[in-house]
Symmetry: C2
Subunit: 355 residues, 2 copies
Amino acid sequence: MDKKIRIKDIAQMAQVSVGTVDRVIHNRGEVAKESYSKVMAILEKTGYKPNLIAKTLGSNKTYKIAALMPNPEQDEYWNQSIEGIKQAKEEWTQYGVQLQTLYFDLYDKESFIKLAETVCESNPDGVLMAPIFYNEALHFINTCKEKNIPFVLINNNIEQAGPLSFVGQDLYQSGRVGAELLHLNEKENGTYAILHIYDDIHNSTHLNEKEKGFKDYFVEQNNGHTYNVLSRDLNYTHESTLEKELSDLLNESTLKGILVTTSKGAYTVSKLLEKKGKNGVRLVAYDLLAENLHYLNNGIIDFLINQNSKRQAFVGISQLSNHLLFKKQATASYLFPLEIISRQNVNSYLNSKQH
Amino acid sequence: MDKKIRIKDIAQMAQVSVGTVDRVIHNRGEVAKESYSKVMAILEKTGYKPNLIAKTLGSNKTYKIAALMPNPEQDEYWNQSIEGIKQAKEEWTQYGVQLQTLYFDLYDKESFIKLAETVCESNPDGVLMAPIFYNEALHFINTCKEKNIPFVLINNNIEQAGPLSFVGQDLYQSGRVGAELLHLNEKENGTYAILHIYDDIHNSTHLNEKEKGFKDYFVEQNNGHTYNVLSRDLNYTHESTLEKELSDLLNESTLKGILVTTSKGAYTVSKLLEKKGKNGVRLVAYDLLAENLHYLNNGIIDFLINQNSKRQAFVGISQLSNHLLFKKQATASYLFPLEIISRQNVNSYLNSKQH
DNA sequence: GTGAAAGCGCTAACAG
DNA sequence: CTGTTAGCGCTTTCAC
């Protein structure tokens, strides 16, 4: 019935050679009008689908993909992304995809700029990037566009950049999930805080998204209660003032819950909360990092929201590879589910092949 | 450095022909011990990885996989599995995998038996199955084994069957997660119920697993409180008695939470709870079915635990295909994370490509 | 403009 | 036991 139809078959039907068929398929010109339309007609009629396997084998091409990532030694979170890239490498090298992962300093814009230049010079066929530094990333993206190099963003999006694909989460909704988890089964009025604890240089556009979601959640609860919602930007390089500010917050008697949006911050808050006692204050943080897991298991952290940076990177590379090799259209916005991690399901995540 | 190394290269190094190398790679015998070990050594040293693209193209084979699934019209849950199988089909047909999905009646063992026979006669190269009917499935599995047909189980395992792979969840832990979600932030004594609501014919071994986890969770809470844990097996075909039993349960003044382990059951309990008012009784159920989503969104259901049957099916087929085509060793027990679904993260799951 | 032919890396049949 | 060789379907080069 629908046995596979090959270029050869088309050629036969059109009474031309495979070369000619190939030329019309790829629109390479040098074909007489007559042959062209004859082949075209048959192509249509038969619904010819090229065999992608044969295609990649035949056109013995290789593709260079550059991944610009923060130095994984500076943050366990990014270490997981690197893992994901490694996994993707494993899968795609056999198809002729060459992956090069390059690290920039998470706290040094200059290092990113330099790296970006290096990448530009190497003329890759595709770029994967975590756009930590907004302006610098945007600049790099523009040169990518000029050079017609497709790029994929992970972790946080830069919408106006128009990437081939964004792979990450809905950060606004993520803030809402955080709020929900703090508010579960709470019937009284109370204070809820969202804390962004980071280094000076950190670019925080994406933290704002989370904050917006967090606040909106509480605004929308019209159940007769009033909620006092705080947000704090804290700098973790000034440890003494940080501790002071946190202590003040914890002394707030109406405090019900805290959402910490940055991984480093979670550690600091957890430690303090452990020392002072939870006193019914709930704590929600992000990601399955070793320290977070520790505090989840001992009850200081109530929930984690998993961003799955490993798989984000993996999917990002796959999107690029599929685009390059198979001309598959990439998913413009590949959003991951907002995974809620508790003490009882955490191991099912850690043991799962997918994570 | 790590440029691709081909069979040809290996052959050259070992001073034999590609034919010989191919023979040792595939263990087809007919190779002198000496050559064998020489080639083997080089294979190891170079870390040779076959080019799968070339492999599938070269060995112009096709494989038939049969999937035995419950009729998706009888239960939305299984409809999702069928979706997953379709997705897998999309991905694997180009590699020469022919997928045939066959439905049996969820409430009729005979239909399964008949279907199994048909499948046997068609001599497939692999089988995917949801072993709903324990004994019947086991019988079919045995004939598969005799015929050396690899089979993958999804949804629930039959351990002694020794499948190529089981794709599903840790049901014991799933019960624990259910208990945790009911018990969140509850500080008082109380009654917690686990309900199995199903048809006569339904095989319930896997429900027991959930129940064990549920009970163990409460036993292990040594916080000075006492919990009254109930379990009920209810038959949903006798609607009047079912309602009566449920009403009795809901009238229990100390009742704090209910875990419903079956999808059909969730609907009945939700409806009743809606009518009588929640009164602080928590409800947790399974899966992202339309009805469940409705009751999640209107606040009757507090959480859902997602079993992700779609992806289970997808992964199951992939395991089989990889095994057949690439001789990749399948994961004996491919356990999915226990996904907690709340009002705030449900859409991120529904919109996600992975679900 | 067009066709023939040599690959891509691997498989498998077939001489020796 | 081993080497040679003709494919798999598509790409690409090179004569004519």
